[in-house]
Assembly symmetry: C2
Homo-oligomer: 284 residues x 2
Amino acid sequence: MPQFKRIAVVGAGLIGGSVLLAAARRRLAGSLACWSRSAEARAMLKGYGVAEVFDNPVDAVRGADVVVVATPVDKMEESFRQISPGLAPGALVTDAGSVKAAIQAAARVLPTHVAFVGAHPMAGSEKAGAAHASAELFVNRPCFVTPTGAEATAEVQRTHAFWQGLGCRTVECGARRHDEIVAAISHVPHASASALMLAVGGLPGFDSATAGSGLKDATRIAAGEENLWVGILLANATHVAAGLRAAEEQTARLRLALEAGDAPLVRQLLADARVLRQSLDRPA
Amino acid sequence: MPQFKRIAVVGAGLIGGSVLLAAARRRLAGSLACWSRSAEARAMLKGYGVAEVFDNPVDAVRGADVVVVATPVDKMEESFRQISPGLAPGALVTDAGSVKAAIQAAARVLPTHVAFVGAHPMAGSEKAGAAHASAELFVNRPCFVTPTGAEATAEVQRTHAFWQGLGCRTVECGARRHDEIVAAISHVPHASASALMLAVGGLPGFDSATAGSGLKDATRIAAGEENLWVGILLANATHVAAGLRAAEEQTARLRLALEAGDAPLVRQLLADARVLRQSLDRPA
C-alpha cells in the first residue's frame, strides 16, 4: 500500500514535473494530481499519463493528503491563497522554493486546518520547464526541511518521509539558516556569474566565438531563466546583497594588487582561492 | 619527409609536453628535443620516449630549426636569455604564453640571427604539468599568432604551419589586440572566479559539503595553479584590471537593484546576462 493517499503538485515545471514522475515511478501515492499555469505544460503532463491534470489549482488539491507547491518563489503567496478553499483538513502542504523565510511568512495565509512545513530540494538545472522533468532528478540530492518549531513532530516527520520517498537526502534547519546557506552556495554565485557575464560582454576584447571553457564554466548558471531567479534573489535580497558586497570587495582587492604589481599578494589571493575551490571537490 | 628538421621545447609542462607528444604522433619533425626545470618532469619526459631530454635549456635548443618556449609567462625573458647562445642561425623561436605584448618585448633579448613570432594556443586546463600532457590537446583549438609586422612573411607562415601541424586552427592578430581578447575571455573570468571563491568562502552560510554544481562551475577555474596565473595576470594587468573594475560595477549595479527591491531592473540585468551567456553556446 502506498505511503500517501493522494499527492497534488501545484505548479508543474522542472521541479513539480519531476515530483510527479518520481512519485509515479516509486509508487509513493495512491493517486497523483497536478495543475500548471501553462496550457502547454498541462498538455505535456497529460501526455506523461501519471497524474490527473486540472485547469485550476483549487481543484487540483482537493482530497490530497500531501500538497507540493512548486510555483515560482514570487508566486507562492498567490498559490497558497488559490489552493486554500480546496485543502482537505489535516493535509500537509510543503513547497520546493529556493528561499524559505519569505515562503514561511507567505504560508501564514493557509487555513489553520492544514500543516505547512517548507522544503527545498537542491536539484535544479539551468533548464526550466516540465519538458526537462525527470523521475531521477532528486536521487541523492540534498533537500532542506525547514520547520518553524511550532509544528507537530509528526508533520515534520511526514515532510522528511515525503522528500526521502522521492530520493532526496533530507537536512533539517531553520528557514533563516537555510537562506544564509543557499545565498552562499547558490544565489550569490548565480548573481555574480550574471554580473561577470555583463562585464565581460561589455569589454572591447569580448567575442562570443572565441570564448573557451573557462568563461563558459564561470558563467554557465547565468543562462538560467530570469523569471524564476528574479523572485529568488529578491526574496533572499539581504543575504544575497551581503554576498555580492563581499564579491565586490574581493574583486577590488585582487584588482588593486594587480594595479600595484604586488606579485606576492596576487599569488596569495589566488592560492587562497585555489585551496577553497579544491575543498569543494573533496569527498564529504 | 617531416616538415621540420628538429623541434626543441623549452619548459615541458602541460603545454610543452603536449607539443612533444603531438609532434611525435604527427611526425612533424625529424627529431625532438626538450628541457624542463623539474627533474621529475625530465624523468617523465624520458619515459615518454619521444624526445631527447636535456639538463639545461641551451643544449636543448642546439641544432633546432623550431624552438618553442613554454615556460611560465614570468620566466620567459630568463628563458630567452638562457637559450640565446645555443640558437642556430635562421631558427624560428615561438612561444605558448597566455600574454603576448610582454613576451614580445622580452623577446628583444634574442639574437638577431633568429626570428621570433609569438603564439598562444588556447588549450589549457586547470591541471598543470607534463603528467597531464596529451597528443590531442591542440586538436581544433584556436591558436593566436601575433607577429609585429616587422618579420619576414615566411617566418610568420612557418609559425602558422607549426601550430597547424599540431592540430590548432590559427588566428592572426597583433599582440595588444590578443591581450585585450584573452583578458575578456580568460584572464578576467579567472580572476573573477578567484574573487568569488574568496567572497563565498568567507560568508557565514558557506559549507563546502553542500556546494552544488552552480558554485562549482562558477569557480572551477579558480583551482588553477597560482604560480602560472600570477605571471599571466600581472603581465596583462592593465586589461585585467579594467575588466575587474567592470565586474565590480556590474555586481554593484545588481546589488543596488536588489537592495532597492527593483524587480524590473533585476529581471532586465538577469535577462541581458542570459542572452549574452547563450551566445557563447551558439555555433560560430
